[in-house]
């Protein structure tokens, strides 16, 4: 969250040990100013101040993450087809018009990369060196997955549903990105196929024309440019389920650095997080003068019950006032007026979810840099 502007075209992310400088880019189609983590395939991060302006992240500053560089740069809405096949009564191929004619649903949901905030893991780990902006919140409009599966008729004995998009690896032997959900999860009525975000068609880099929405779960499941749904009668053992995107089967997915031999499971539901969005690390505050502090929180796979704020490094906490509830999977704004006392201090914010889960005060660690949700600290000086 503490992002210092260096020049118009650069930012400094306070990643321990560096490298900490990144370019701000406007070079990507349908996209505004974003933090450049990688050009090809694109990894683009949302700057923290964007989250201060609205709990809905604008499409043109919504973060971007692709695994393979074979991204189609043209999509024809008339010839695009979504195929549903596998352990079904009949293979069906649906046009966008056919999907648009199905009953529409809409929900607000946070999309967050499994490795959001990986750059803050200590000891540091390899992977995209994100600050806290590999996340965004949008109103997703589309159709529930369940009736789409019914078009094909799921056969008895189905165990999982596997999703593929139009993107491809450059090398043909490399594993195509495929993700699977348990059949009951896929049919829960909330998992949906979105053809719009925040009231407009998706930017190509966010998965136009169709993206899987898995509310409350990490973005690795939110398959972009979704064109293939396969019902499986066996558990999916493809690379992206069995090897990649796995977490230690331990509390907070945490292990000791160097530890081996732990059991792993596919990453799944999100956990609560919260951020200050209007005060940056290193900022100087006026001592003795009331100051409004605000930010965003989300409960993970459930709503936000409360958000507490501390201006003394976690010794004492005050409950903040929550903003409008846009649904349990959405960002929720919080705010509080506090009076800084002279000296250096750490501002902290802590979310408790509706299921009673609270952010931990010690950071988790795993070799993939997944699922960070420690209470974040913003160091400031008041004088």
């Amino acid at each position: 969250m503490p992002v210092t502007a260096l020049a118009e075209s650069m930012v400094k992310l306070p990643l321990p040990g560096g490298p900490d400088e990144r370019a701000i880019t406007t070079a990507f189609p349908q996209k505004g100013a974003l933090i450049l983590q990688r050009t090809r395939p694109p990894l683009l991060e949302t700057p923290m101040d964007v989250f201060d302006r609205s709990i809905f992240t604008p499409n043109d500053q919504f973060y971007v993450r692709w695994h393979w560089a074979g991204i189609p740069n043209e999509i024809d809405v008339n010839s695009f087809r979504l195929t549903v096949h596998g352990h079904v009564n009949r293979t069906v191929s649906l046009s966008l018009d056919e999907l648009l004619a199905l009953p529409q649903m809409e929900l607000a949901a946070v999309n967050q990369c499994s490795g959001n905030s990986r750059g803050y893991f200590q000891p540091r780990v390899s992977g995209a060196q994100w600050s806290n902006g590999a996340m965004g919140n949008a109103r997703w409009t589309g159709v529930s997955l369940n009736p789409v599966l019914d078009r094909a008729g799921v056969k008895a004995g189905a165990v999982q549903v596997r999703f593929k998009g139009l993107d491809d690896a450059v090398l043909p032997e490399a594993p195509k990105l495929m993700k699977s959900l348990a059949i009951d999860h896929a049919r829960d009525g909330e998992v949906m196929l979105a053809y719009a975000m925040n009231g407009e068609q998706l930017p190509l880099l966010n998965g136009f024309p169709l993206r899987l929405i898995v509310p409350g779960w990490y973005s690795t499941y939110w398959v972009k440019m979704l064109n293939d749904i396969e019902v499986l009668d066996q558990p999916d053992t493809n690379y992206w389920m069995k090897t990649a995107y796995t977490i230690p089967d331990t509390p907070h997915a945490s292990v000791r650095p160097g530890e081996t031999g732990f059991k792993v499971v596919p990453i799944n539901r999100m956990v609560p997080r919260s951020f200050i969005t209007n005060i940056m690390a290193g900022e100087r505050l006026q001592a003795g003068a009331p100051r409004l502090v605000r930010g965003i929180a989300f409960g993970g796979d459930t709503g936000v019950a409360r958000v507490d704020f501390s201006s003394d490094g976690g010794k004492s906490w005050q409950q903040t006032q929550l903003g409008k509830d846009e649904g349990k999977y959405s960002f929720r704004q919080w705010q509080l007026s506090f009076t800084p006392i002279a000296g250096a201090q750490a501002l902290m914010v802590r979310c408790t979810s509706s299921s009673g889960e609270t952010q931990p005060d010690t950071p988790n660690w795993n070799p993939s840099g997944f699922m960070r949700n420690v209470i974040e600290q913003t160091p400031v000086v008041a004088a």
Binding site: P19, T39, E74, A128
Partner: protein, 109 residues
């Protein structure tokens, strides 16, 4: 009679028109054609730079690598082996150590 009906009729027409506009806006998708930046920067000079340029840049641009922290040699070995075995980078086994050495030096500059 007309005086009473006209405003109602006008409101009805305008509501229908805005509903139609709303529906059209919601329900019509437009084809998209874009250009994506390629990112043709090369790796900094140094022993092994040619190998890294030749083996890595087909699948990804350099930024990802330049942004990595000072990873240990063992961490870089894990990365290179993942690229080779899982992601099928056509790296000649005899070049693996040279590539690891280049990446380690780069991340510790």
């Amino acid at each position: 009679m007309w005086r009473k009906l006209l405003p109602v009729a006008l409101i009805t027409v305008s509501v229908l028109a805005s509903l139609a506009a709303y529906a059209e806006q919601k329900l019509s998708l437009k084809s998209v054609s874009v250009d994506l930046p390629f990112g043709d920067r090369m790796f900094p000079d140094g022993p092994g730079a040619d190998l890294v340029n030749g083996n890595c840049l087909a699948c990804h641009s350099v930024g990802m690598v330049l942004n990595q922290p000072a990873l240990s040699e063992a961490q870089w070995r894990t990365e290179v082996e993942k690229m080779r075995t899982a992601y099928k980078a056509p790296i000649d086994p005899k070049d693996v150590d040279k590539i690891i050495s280049y990446l380690y030096d780069l991340s510790h500059r």
